[in-house]
């Protein structure tokens, strides 16, 4: 190729890249459109963690966060919390790794609430940079009206201080008082979280708002199964068992599509993704399946799906039966 041709080719390549970079969404070809939709790959290997590795009969709500720089002399750069799945006693365990995708090493149980109630499960840990504390929300059976979300705090994620009941059903709200399965995120300075609002197969969900992560206001418009998005009375979208994140200027929901089921029973669920409205109440379109290549240990019994954004990558920790896998966003 001559120098002139090289220059011409370089100019063409630059123009094509520029075109890809400014391709408006939509009015673009299918390949360009993929640039605006998060793409995922997953670790094609054995489970990154299992109930057996944790020494438990079941495992649930495995989710990692980056602790590097937050915990002096940390065991590793990333800590993951998890619990049993609908166990009468419960208990929250910790594992650590120097990579979000593992391998994960068991530390063991770090917390069990024995003050009121039982079944200490579904931990969700978030760093509170204002208080310089890790906040861990979890659900506790027999606490509050029914089975409610409680809070514990820690400086090292190993030694936890119980704060106690933090979310309870306000008067007149629907359901049996179950406010567990809480997950939350920071939206600017605000705290926004999702929980169930009543248990059972057809219980509602709730959006909570807070300025400090301790005092929460329940939006009195409970969330439903999003059947105007799924277009099916049989299938609902997950709320706390999911995550939201910004990708190329749009807010996205990544969660599970599943049958209406509860109580840890075997179900059929699959991961999916859709744009979500700015108030986090509505999916903007029918969710698209994330077609993970199936691994031989995976089943359709997806019990939890937790999202954690670390170092600009969206990690999706999912468990089918008693095994944990991880998927992660990849650039296009």
């Amino acid at each position: 190729m001559s120098m002139t041709e090289n220059i011409a080719q370089a100019a063409l390549d630059a123009a094509m890249k520029a075109n890809r970079a400014i391709a408006p969404y939509d009015y673009c070809d299918a390949e360009s459109r993929r640039m605006y939709t998060p793409q995922f790959d997953k670790k094609m290997d054995n489970p990154i963690y299992t109930a057996a590795m944790a020494g438990l009969q079941s495992i649930y709500w495995f989710r990692a966060i980056k602790v590097k720089g937050l915990i002096p002399d940390a065991k590793a750069d990333y800590y993951a919390t998890y619990s049993t799945n609908h166990n009468r006693i419960g208990g929250i365990g910790l594992a650590y790794s120097n990579s979000p995708t593992g391998p994960w090493t068991k530390h063991g149980q770090v917390y069990l609430d024995t003050v009121v109630g039982n079944s200490t499960e579904t931990p969700f840990v978030i760093w509170n940079d204002e208080e310089q504390l890790f906040f861990m929300y979890y659900q506790q059976n027999g606490l509050g009206i029914n089975q409610s979300t409680a809070l514990a705090t820690s400086v090292d994620m190993i030694n936890w201080t119980r704060v106690g009941l933090i979310l309870d059903k306000p008067p007149g709200f629907p359901g049996d008082g179950h406010t567990g399965y809480f997950s939350c995120f920071r939206n600017g300075g605000k705290w926004i979280g999702f929980s169930v609002m009543g248990g059972g197969d057809f219980g509602r969900k709730c959006i909570w708002h807070s300025h400090d992560g301790r005092s929460w206001l329940a939006d009195p418009r409970p969330l439903m199964g999003g059947n105007d998005a799924t277009l099916s009375a049989e299938e609902n979208i997950s709320r706390p068992n999911a995550g939201v994140f910004m990708y190329k200027g749009s807010m996205w929901w990544l969660g599970m599509l599943s049958a209406y089921a509860s109580g840890g029973v075997t179900t059929v669920a699959r991961p999916a993704i859709a744009k979500i409205s700015a108030d986090f109440r509505q999916l903007l379109d029918k969710p698209s399946d994330i077609y993970f290549p199936a691994l031989n240990w995976e089943t359709t019994n997806m019990q939890s799906l937790m999202v954690s954004v670390m170092d600009g990558v969206v990690y999706v920790y999912y468990n089918t039966d008693h095994n944990i896998g991880v998927a992660y966003s990849v650039g296009v």
């Binding site: 709200f173 629907p174 199964g225 109440r281």
Partner: protein, 228 residues
């Protein structure tokens, strides 16, 4: 069909939106509402509610319904909303929130029969038959279902989209069950003769199955009508 715009708001069902509201603040019924059963009110300075109680006989009803009828072939959507709906107990009653003709040969209703686990959207036909669509929204807890999943103290909207907001030939009548801006039930496609147009009445109806007085209570009844 419900379709949301790019911001997540529902694309209006028509250019013209009219709304009837009964808020029960003054202990009286507005002139567009009639009642079957014994009504009692909690007017101001209370929060404004109505309670309608059946006689203590099996098969008795308590009803709150629109006096006037709506010709569904002239509108694009009809919705009936009950705010803070509460039922006294989860057994011994059947409940429906309907947009249906008086002879049950046109329109639809959201129906939950006593001791059934699931609610149904029922679409009536002119020949007196109907088609049921099982829904995962329910009025009350029944045996074998954990937790209080009832509509007690909830907002409930039954929305009938006649399909007439679409171009001729693309009508797809549909029914949606929701609360506020959320939807938890759908009988998405009533085309192909499953939906029968008619002069329809919006109503809430409770029927007893035992010789016991039962009631429903709500803080507001609304009827929304869209057209072009």
């Amino acid at each position: 069909m419900i379709i949301r715009d790019a911001a997540g708001q529902i694309v209006p069902f028509g250019k013209v939106h009219k709304q009837l509201v009964a808020d029960f603040l003054y202990g009286t019924l507005p002139n567009w509402v009639e009642v079957v059963g014994t009504p009692t009110f909690e007017p101001l300075p209370d929060r404004g509610t109505i309670t309608v109680t059946t006689p203590a006989t099996a098969g008795a009803t308590a009803e709150l319904k629109m006096k006037h009828l709506i010709d569904s072939s002239k509108v694009t959507a009809i919705a009936i909303t009950l705010e803070a709906l509460q039922l006294n107990g989860n057994i011994g009653i059947s409940v429906q929130v309907g947009i249906k003709s008086k002879d049950s040969k046109a329109g639809i209703t959201f129906f939950h029969n006593v001791n059934q686990k699931y609610g149904m959207v029922r679409a009536y036909k002119a020949d007196g038959t109907y088609t049921d669509f099982k829904q995962n929204m329910v009025f009350f807890t029944t045996q074998g279902v954990a937790g209080d999943e009832a509509q007690n103290r909830k907002n409930l909207t039954v929305l009938l989209c006649t399909g007439l907001q679409f171009s001729a030939g693309f009508e797809r009548p549909s029914v949606w069950l929701g609360a506020d801006d959320q939807y938890g039930g759908v009988a998405a496609d009533l085309s192909g003769g499953l939906f029968q147009h008619g002069e329809l009445q919006c109503l809430l109806k409770l029927t007893t199955s035992k010789a016991e007085a039962k009631y429903f209570k709500c803080a507001q009844m609304k009827v929304d009508i869209w057209s072009n």
